[in-house]
Amino acid sequence: MSELQFIGKNHSRPDGPDKAAGKALYIHDLVRPGMLYGKIKFSEYAHAAIKHIDTSRAEKLPGVRAVITAYNTPEIRIGFIKDNFALKKDKVRQFRDEVAAVAAVDPETAAEAVDLIEVEYEELPGVFSPDEALRADAPLIHEFDSRGRPKKDNLVPVPWNFTAGDVEKAKQLSAVVVEDDFDTPLVQQSCMGTAGCIAEFDLMNNLLIHTKTQIPFLAQNDFNAALTAMGLKGRSTRVIVPAIGGSFGSGLDTHAYEYIAILLAYTTGKPVKIVFNRHEEFTALSPRQATRTHIIQGCDANGRLTFRDVRMVLDNGAYTSWGATTPSVMMLPISSIYRVPNVFYQTTIVYTNNTYCQAMRGYGNPQAAWAIESNMDQLAEKAGIDPYEFRMINANVPNETTPMGLNITTCGFSDCLQSVARELDWREKRGKGRSRARGVGMASLFHVGGAARVYRSDGTGVIMKLDDFGNVSISSGGIEMGQGFTAALTAATAEALGVSPDRVTVITGDTAICPWDVGTHASRGAFTACNAAILAADKARQKIFELAAEHFMARVSANLERRMKKQQGFQAPNLDAVGNPTASDFDLRQNFVFLKDRPDDPLLRVPLDELLREAHYRQQGTIIVTEAFYDPCHEMLDPKTCRGNISAAYVFGVQGAEVEVDEETGKVTVLKFAAAHDVGKVLNPQTLKGQIYGAIVQGLGYALCEEYKAHRGKNLNPNFLDYKILSAPDVDFPIHVECIETDDRQGPFGAKGVGEPGLVPTAPAIANAVYDAVGVRIKSLPITPEKVLAALRERKNKIAKEAEAAKGGSNVR
């Protein structure tokens, strides 16, 4: 491809102005004629039998149009292994279980009606940690599996195990071995725009649902199944996705509230809207999984990693979402970050009566990175090697297949390490700030960068349509949720087709218009859709050039004649020398069709729109519409061995921080932050850096303050007063971001996926810096002042005791 016109340059986001000015329409803004408001009655217990539901008072309240429960609606099974139900019958397994719902003429009436529903429960003993749930005598959360077979334990039947080489032998042969436990808490996606939907039926019983989702087509599939369960088999679902105020993985499943809106809409014959308030967003959506990881790693005398042994326990909560597949992503760094020949990985996913978990940006990778990267520093210390050098020794290299079968093509890992070390002044600062309680630390990441085959198809389709004015509409199944998808697809379309970005309109979020896409996840949106756009643009260019072969010279002649009439003395050049160009002689750039060998002749070019009109407005005219379906060249994991090249490309990154610890209060202050990411190719520097800055701040929240606190399954901080995310005043330090371009040939213009990686290594980078500053290692997130202070005290007591023991010893002598 010739020199790039738009890729790699800053272009403002097409969706930016409307969002900034409040004109964009989110689910909260949408109103449908005759719309009712739905509200859900949630459980009052973590684990209880439902004895009786009395809805009579709610039904009598003026303005109430329907009250539904599992007892007066068809059963709709939902979830990754169909262990969940839209409305709960017989028993509740978590505080957020949906036991009833109402539709009313306004939100206030709906809320009042929900309070009038009386549910009689008989409380059952609950389990609130994997340890409790795994006890032999633990109460069963699910008595039967989704096929109706009796269950004997609280294990989620989704095991993820991986073995490569001989870990036990490697343990024996290693010069240095370090093992430890690392914990991560539940954290919430904290979307600015809460979840919600409007469901409605037409008179043929076809469903139209406006909903906040990242997976419109998988959702369509799920809702079609619900229609079947409702006795409406064969009726169709149209999913429309309004503007989204952040999703971060919360839109990767369909949720009970969506099915409840569907049931209410069907029952009432009216559109029904359910939108979560902030409290519901916290308590009735699914956070990122809490994990406990036992990790052992070893290296030889030269600091080369010999093995990695990771055993992880995940608290699944009461039901199973797609989040249960996060270990497949955890497995990527566990098997493949750094060159490590022997790997053992085992997961135990456990049902509890806690809120059930789901996907969040990074999809398990932050939990894995927390354990691996903290432990890497421990191992480096024990081996007597600087942690940066230790990472350099073990860094992955290009064109190598890992034990998991991941085919690493481009790899900018070492460049990333060097960038962060340089930016942090590593050699000057590492290990030298203890007297001032200052330290530097770093951590690395490995993630999919070329989509991820977690579903039978990882494809995405686009339709490219050119109009009479030279404008291009590209419809895509991908979703803009604030990440810059529209901006990336606009630039890629303009670049690939040869028009200016202002001619491009991106259409997303309507299953009736847009071609299929598996979902906007796995950092795959821009990677897949831009690749599809390139394919569709190639087809469109071919058609344009065929039209040019037919009409170009005629338009040039007509334009010259008109000019001669208008402009006295203008002499038209002799066109005989041009001859009759064929389709392969043309090029298209900046909205003009021209001859490849005469790119600079202003008389020998035709505006694209003029050519398109010429081809359209005539007998037997034509217009240009093309389509493409791109499915990356990767494979699904073998279900038995967990091997397979799951992504078409992989990304690397390193983040580091300089921190200062207040030894009296335990407070960690970030002084400087540096990030270097192998992005393949920068599509739009401003949008890309925005992604990384945002991810770093989210990662710092995970590192320092975010925690979904619960007591016996009940969330204690369902609001931003007590669930603390960082805001602008907290980011009062420089963040340096360097993008390493490795130009991956699978990527559109060489680009790899960048959506998730920016928050993956943030927390261990901070923990490693804290250790450098004050010599204490925090092993459970978040790194709160309380934990740091307790660790500092413990260290002080230990040192004092040791000093006393030494003193005592000398007295005896």
Binding site: E108, A111, E664, T665, G666, K667, C705, K709, L716, N717, L721, D722, K724, I725, L726, S727, P729, D730, D732, T784, P785, E786, L789
Partner: protein, 292 residues
């Protein structure tokens, strides 16, 4: 959220009449940043809210022997108006770190006090300044010391209809230093603990010491025992080294979802010590006179 009537009287008399009419079922609303949250949560379910925004006599600042200002003074004004920041830097500082700019643009100092949260950021500096509050109800005016104002979490010495109309702080004596410090989980946060110090120095000896802390007792708290241990003494490193333990002894924090009792105790001790050092530096810029 329960529906409520909304009134915006122009005079105090009219406000009192409305409150009497609703017989205890109405609440005042100043900036609304606390009461509206409580109404939305259903914790407060008033039949009516009576706004104080239209009452001019609750606004304005007068300089006399000190400063008297209306209870409807915005937190934003405390933060940015030099009338406050020049002579009462600790009060301005407390205002500057109260919640977020959006909140500070509507929240009022009177509302912050009347809400009587133990964590109220305006309270500790006003306690160290020994502010006088003018309360007014249908029965007339009375003056109370801010020290007597707070009775418990959400409870004050105001009766149901009385409101704070004005706040008076005395002019600072010569060689006065003030400081305010706050610990939150992030920068924009309710205080896990906060602390204010006011010192009047004379030849390196502390003539007057006023210390107050928040969020570590049922009310914003004057630390009178610690104050008396400091008054009349030279403030040196030895004395400062003892302050943490003394503070920890005088407070009664709790464990909640935000932090632990233990952490509040420790961090309050540290903050009071630091606030004293900062106040000293404000008396003696550079601090040489003390730490020589």
């Amino acid at each position: 959220m329960k529906k409520f009537d909304y009134h915006r009287p122009q005079t105090l008399k009219e406000a009192f009449r409305l409150m009497e009419k609703y017989k205890g079922r109405a609440r005042y609303i100043a900036g609304g940043t606390d009461i509206i949250v409580r109404v939305k949560k259903g914790v407060a379910q008033p039949d009516a809210l009576v706004s104080l925004r239209g009452i001019n006599e609750l606004r304005g600042v007068e300089r006399g022997r000190g400063l008297t200002f209306g209870s409807m003074t915005l937190v934003r004004e405390l933060e940015s108006d030099p009338v406050f920041s020049t002579d009462f830097p600790a009060l301005a500082r407390a205002a500057a770190v109260l919640a977020s700019p959006q909140i500070r643009n509507v929240a009022t100092v009177g509302g912050n006090l009347a809400n009587a949260a133990p964590s109220a950021d305006c309270a500790p500096p006003l306690l160290t300044l020994e502010a006088q509050l003018t309360l007014e109800g249908p029965g007339g005016k009375r003056e109370v010391s801010i020290d007597e104002f707070f009775q418990g979490p959400g409870r004050t010495c105001c009766d149901a209809i009385e409101i704070i109309t004005r706040i008076t702080v005395p002019a600072p004596a010569n060689k006065t230093g003030m400081a305010f410090l706050k610990t939150g989980r992030v920068n924009q946060d309710i205080a896990l603990a906060n602390a204010a110090a006011l010192l009047v120095m004379e030849n390196s000896v502390c003539r007057k010491c006023r210390l107050a802390v928040g969020a570590v007792a049922p009310v914003p708290l004057r630390l009178k025992t610690v104050e008396s241990a400091i008054e009349g003494r030279k403030i040196d490193d030895e004395l400062l080294g003892q302050i943490g333990a003394m503070v920890e002894h005088e407070i009664s924090p709790i464990t909640d979802v935000r932090t632990t009792e233990d952490y509040r105790r420790v961090v309050t001790g540290v903050m009071v010590g630091r606030a004293i050092r900062q106040a000293l530096q404000n008396v003696y810029p550079g601090g040489q006179e003390v730490f020589r």
